[in-house]
Amino acid sequence: MSNNIEFSEEQSMLLDSAREFAKSQSSIDLVRARLDDDRGLPISVWTAMTELGWAGIVIPEEHGGLGLGFNHLVPIVECMGRQLMASPLIWSAITAHALRLAGTAEQKSQCLPALAAGAIGTMGLMETGGSWDLSAPTCAAKFAGDQLVLTGTKVFVEDANIADYIIVSVLLEGQSRLVLIEAASVDAAALNREVIIDETRRSFRLTLDGIQVPKSNLLLALDLNEIELAAMLLLSAEMAGSHASTLDLIVEYLKTRKQFDRYIGSYQALKHPTVDILIGLEASRSHVYYAATGFDVGTSNDRQLAVRMAKAVASEGCAFAGDRAIQFHGGFGFTFECDAQLYLRRALWGQHQFGDEAHQRTLLAPLMLEETD
């Protein structure tokens, strides 16, 4: 594997404009003000993002998108992460990705233009019990005439309350398959907001019992690993973003807070771990942009290696930064009022979605340690 990282003028412009956009639309005060809101993001901001074309980045041009790769989405998601933005962009993009890979012609022409125009998509892949193994869902689908009858419960379905499309994984005739649900057909009682560690997000439990969809809503067979990798790439990018702002928060406090007549940043006990956080951030961003570079063009094996490494490095680094952010703020860090908790909560969410660093290393081991020739 090479160390190739590519970053075009176009990506660079996206990075700049996304950074400006996220800064202006998602100040930390705004993030706090929306914690109790049903929507993580005002609809006007989502509309503005859609108008910039971001909702259609990975959607082919023939379906109304920009026809670009995940490498163009990553800089935007990183910038959103910096500002703790809770936007449906990530899961809408992954939903579009699933449809692009495994949607029928009809599903594509129905959903992709809508998603590019700002319809919101999300996916239900996880189930109760906390397992990261997505390959064997216990939720099920059965044919009943021209309908598919769904059973079971999905958890950690983000933004399901505002979604137009929800794609869930189910077991159908012994195979793990994806089914498209039009959210309008879901009874409100089937959706229950979950209490999660990251209060900037909206996550739901989705009860499938009682839901039926036309047979034509079944997607073609797809290895869910591809969806998992896309989700991990974007989560890692988002974590690299919040890792950076966690570092900014720490540095600012270390430069201005005095104890015993000295700025606390002059103490090596605080300075050295902060340098570790900086180096961790440099590593994390490097892995993220490396994984992004090869994501749409590399082999499946390369993608697996690059994305899992990125997820491992991002999870570990971001969680460490959040943890130290609390400690270095002293008594203030122990309060809800201190922003450090927002970052730590973000980090812990990201770390535990789709496998923490230990899980990633376990899966990387056979890929990295066995002799290849």
Partner: protein, 400 residues
């Protein structure tokens, strides 16, 4: 001068073929791991001969000006040579202090006379260079150097001592940081920089036995040693900025080095290779989930270092906390090496307790590597000092 990819590819093939043909191979005795570990005359002569051969073939100092003995070519040619050398694992260049620190420094800010006098001898290994920065009582606190240089007619008279002078027994010249004044607004103001001869009365390099029981470093004593006044580089009192410029070359923060490797290349893949053939408690080490996890962790870290260097070359992705990647290079690289050498010993079960001997795994290579790895986590500014520097200069944190 523009170079085509085709030319570069052809050049790489030529270099590769030359190295294969001229690799001096196994000398029949244990070679040092780096220029800092050259402890016997046999080792020194073997390595000096190799450097001469490489220079004569035109593969060293390729990007240095022709007028002083360099090759006058674009840097990319030298980079290809260095990459191929690493690839083929040929011995390192023993005159590293001259090639990578003193040489680029002289080219950057030396006088015409200094360039004419020193550069060629650095390249062809005629003139070995040592460094006289650290002192016994002021390890990482270079600015506090107390070795004195007092002007007396056409000479400076030097008194004091320097420690960790690699190649001290073989060196003809030393880059020397000494105090010409104790007045001045701060400790840095009185420092001056010399390109000093080593063969002068009153200069005694005394070899130091290292924790590995080998030699390689000296403590160099100056006892009323007289060196010509024209050895002063720049003006009196300019020693600190010149020493800092030297450290930028030493730490690889800026380019301009003559090329070649300074150490025997050992990387995380060598540890993986060891892990694959190691047993713990009679079972393959790589069957142990904890060993697997640690091995993968080290490999990811090594990958991180490579990727960071790559990303830092992309301006749009290197704009936050400028300098973080290059400034942390030494810290990251040396600490990783120390830890993977430690891990390599952990792989060996009870044999981890052996040292250099026939009974030891790989002849005790890993134990020696681990011990010697501290020279890089301590020398050139300890890891802890590096963390201070990064914290203060990159993050803007208050001074410790």
């Amino acid at each position: 001068m523009s170079v085509t990819q085709h030319e570069l590819d052809e050049f790489r093939q030529d270099v590769s073929a030359w190295l294969t043909e001229n690799n001096p191979g196994d000398p029949g005795f244990l070679l040092p791991e780096s220029f800092m570990e050259v402890g016997t005359d046999k080792q020194f002569e073997y390595l000096r001969t190799w450097q001469q051969k490489v220079y004569e073939a035109g593969y060293l100092g390729m990007a240095w000006p022709e007028a002083y003995g360099g090759g006058g070519k674009p840097q990319v040619f030298q980079d290809i040579v260095t990459q191929e050398m690493a690839q083929q694992r040929v011995p390192f260049m023993t005159n590293t202090i001259g090639l990578n620190w003193a040489g680029p420094l002289i080219l950057q800010r030396g006088s015409e006379a200094e360039k004419n006098k020193y550069i060629k001898g650095i390249l062809n290994a005629e003139d070995i260079w040592a460094q006289g920065f650290s002192e016994p009582d002021h390890g990482s606190d270079l600015g506090n150097a107390q070795t004195k240089a007092v002007r007396d007619g056409d000479d400076y008279v030097i008194n004091g001592s320097k420690i960790w002078t690699s190649l001290g027994s073989y060196a003809k010249y030393m880059i020397l940081l000494a105090r010409t004044s104790t007045d001045g607004p701060n400790k840095y103001a009185g420092l001056s920089f010399f390109l000093a001869p080593m063969q002068a009365e009153g200069i005694t390099p005394q070899p130091i036995k290292k924790l590995t029981s080998e030699f390689g470093f000296c403590q160099t004593y100056f006892d009323n040693a007289r060196i010509p006044a024209n050895c002063l580089m720049g003006a009196e009192g300019e020693g600190w900025p010149i020493a800092m410029a030297t450290l930028m070359f030493e730490r690889g923060n800026v380019g301009g080095q003559a090329g070649g490797m300074a150490i025997m290349d050992v990387n995380v893949n060598d540890v993986l290779e060891l892990a694959r053939r190691s047993k713990r408690n009679g079972k393959p080490a790589l069957d142990d989930p904890l060993i697997r996890d640690q091995m993968v962790q080290l490999m990811i870290e090594a990958k991180s270092n490579g990727l960071m260097n790559q990303r830092s070359k992309i301006p749009a992705l290197a704009s936050d906390y400028q300098g973080a990647v290059p400034m942390s290079g030494k810290l990251r690289g040396t600490e990783l090496k120390r830890r993977f050498c430690q891990f390599a010993i952990n792989l060996q079960g009870a044999d981890g307790a052996r040292f250099v001997s026939n009974e030891a795994v790989d002849g005790g290579k890993w134990q020696r590597l681990y011990f010697n790895s501290f020279s890089a986590t301590i020398g050139g500014g300890t890891s802890q000092i590096q963390a201070n520097i990064i914290g203060e200069r990159v993050l803007g944190l208050p001074k410790s």
